[in-house]
Amino acid sequence: MTVFITRRLLQSCLVIFVMSLIVFFGVNVIGNPIDILINPEADQAEIERAIKALGLDRPIHEQYLVFIQRAFEGDLGRSFVFGEPALKLIMQRMPATLELALCAMLISIVLGIPLGMWAGLKPESAAGKSIMGFSILGFSLPSFWVGIMLIMIFAVMLGVLPSTGRGQTVGLFGLQVSFLTWDGLAHLLLPAVNLALFKLSLVIRLARAGTREVVLQDYVKFARAKGLSPSRIVLVHVMKNIMIPVVTILGLELGSVIAFSVVTETIFAWPGMGKLIIDSINLLDRPVIVAYLLMTVFMFITINLVVDILYSILDPRVRLQDIKG
């Protein structure tokens, strides 16, 4: 077990190191920040002063070493555009992204499990088939297109929901949240539905497959023979057993919801991390790009590491195979 965890930890550190190299060098070598950040009408002395202030005059490997040293101190550089620490900018926007991602997860569970179970219990019925048709559409429609459609229908044609922004927020444990006000909820609904759509399709499929498997099991037959009501069988015996795979997979998918929020946030002008990275790429605000990418990679590696370790605790075959391999 210790061997396994150590190996995984080392591997994760290696990946973070390699990613930091790729991201830092790539961003620094390919773009030329001097052209973008410094006023083209500035004179030579001014340009040089700016280059010095931004640390762009030093050799690239020195820039990287300084960057790494700073990164360990939690300082990932200052944004060229905002003049604030990049990490602080990201942290400021993280609650908005997390709120959106968690709402999307909630929607996909609350809607997806009943719909998937219904499709699983009556696979040949019209309802079951349309639920599956919906899930296939949810998989193949690009999410930005769905977002545009939502805005067109609900904001432009019907005019019932706001199309962009976050709305009124309220402080809760030091975080700004929007789900506690009506205005905030109205702003949250469309982006959350948009982000949820793909996961919703996934949950429907998982719940349907699970249900079809579970209803054939002996304990369901036994419950039926015992004379339990169909609603009790479905709500207690079937649902409990399909929850395990659904929840496990959704836990794994949280990271990808956060990554995909880039698209949703851009469409709905939601002030989260995703919109920040797209704006930063367009403005070539390198410290923010580097910080965002490193943060996200770090988050993913942590999620994967935790999942790997949990799996190896649950299923010893995984870690034995790994040590042999």
């Binding site: 193949s140 930005f144 545009i148 797209i278 990418l293 990679v297 993913f300």
Partner: protein, 304 residues
């Protein structure tokens, strides 16, 4: 099947090549045939865009800013009818879409082909040589697949910048791992078959065994993954271009057209965004439907 006709000895046995059987199986689903026809039409439009477009939307002499934002069916000052309206620069949407489709399909197909070639070589060698090569390669594949595609593409495009070549590179990097995993999986099964053993006994070279014997037998699952992946690649390219980090404005794909139209959407000028969106949708859905049917036809477990 060729043996099925044995019950009727009076008739000469009907000889059916594997390809004919494949076509017959595929044609069993009318939806799939319709999807294939649709995709063929889309492909034709993309290839013939310069010939069939009412105007060249990127030739500045042919467009007139006075014609901008005309609704569908509107007429230009010169008397030309814009069936799907015009965009903010006065371009005919229909022509812009034909050209956009061309770019989208080109990017999808190019990235798909290169990713397939790379993934195939990597997957085949991992499966054929096994041991350490296999372990290292599959670790890298697993690692990459643990990140969502959009994040990998985002990192690469943040590093590389905009451009047709850049986005193709990013899409190859996103996709190769899927192909590698698929090929390795089926090659591991095929490698243990007798014909590979026989070829090895005959003293054939590694290259010949891998490319002449192993490769043709791992093609079916690869074709299925390939169709699905090309649809994914087109959707991902559209998404990235929509975000403004994919293609440059000089070479607009459908995604970029949608993004341009999005700015006009809130003022009720729906057509600039909607029509390219529908074109994108038709393309992706038709490829996916063809892919679904291919999976059913090529899956040996489902064969009658």
């Amino acid at each position: 099947m060729t043996f099925a006709t044995d019950t009727a000895p009076a008739l000469p046995p009907k000889v059916e090549t594997p390809f004919q059987r494949f076509v017959a199986d595929f044609a069993e689903s009318p939806v799939a045939v319709a999807a294939l026809a649709t995709f063929a039409a889309v492909l034709f439009v993309a290839l013939a865009a310069p010939l069939i477009s009412p105007q060249n939307p990127y030739d500045l002499r042919q467009i007139d800013i006075m014609d901008s934002r005309l609704p569908p069916g509107g007429q230009s000052l010169a008397g030309m009818t814009f069936w799907l309206g015009t965009d903010g620069q006065g371009r005919d949407m229909l022509s812009a879409m034909f050209y956009g489709l061309r770019t989208s399909l080109f990017v999808g197909a190019m990235s798909g082909m290169f990713a397939l070639a790379i993934g195939m070589c990597v997957g085949l060698s991992a499966a054929y040589f096994g041991g350490r090569v296999d372990t290292i390669v599959m670790r890298i594949v697993d690692l990459q697949l643990s990140f969502p595609a959009i994040l990998v593409a985002l990192i690469l495009l943040a590093v590389l910048g905009k451009g047709v070549d850049k986005i193709i590179i990013a899409l190859i990097a996103v996709q190769w791992a899927y192909y590698a995993r698929t090929v390795r999986g089926s090659a591991l099964v095929e490698r243990r078959r007798e014909y590979i053993e026989a070829a090895t006994c005959l003293g054939l070279s590694h290259k010949r065994i891998v490319f002449r014997h192993l490769l043709p037998n791992v093609m079916p699952p690869l074709i299925v993954v390939g169709t699905v992946q090309i649809a994914h690649a087109i959707a991902l390219e559209a998404t990235l271009s929509f975000l403004g980090i994919g293609l440059p404005v000089t070479e607009p794909s459908l995604g970029l057209l949608i993004a341009n139209g999005f700015n006009y959407m809130l003022s009720g000028k729906y057509w600039i965004s909607i029509f390219p969106g529908i074109a994108l949708l038709i393309t992706i859905v038709s490829i996916n439907l063809v892919g679904d049917q291919l999976r059913d036809v090529l899956n040996p477990r489902l064969q009658k």
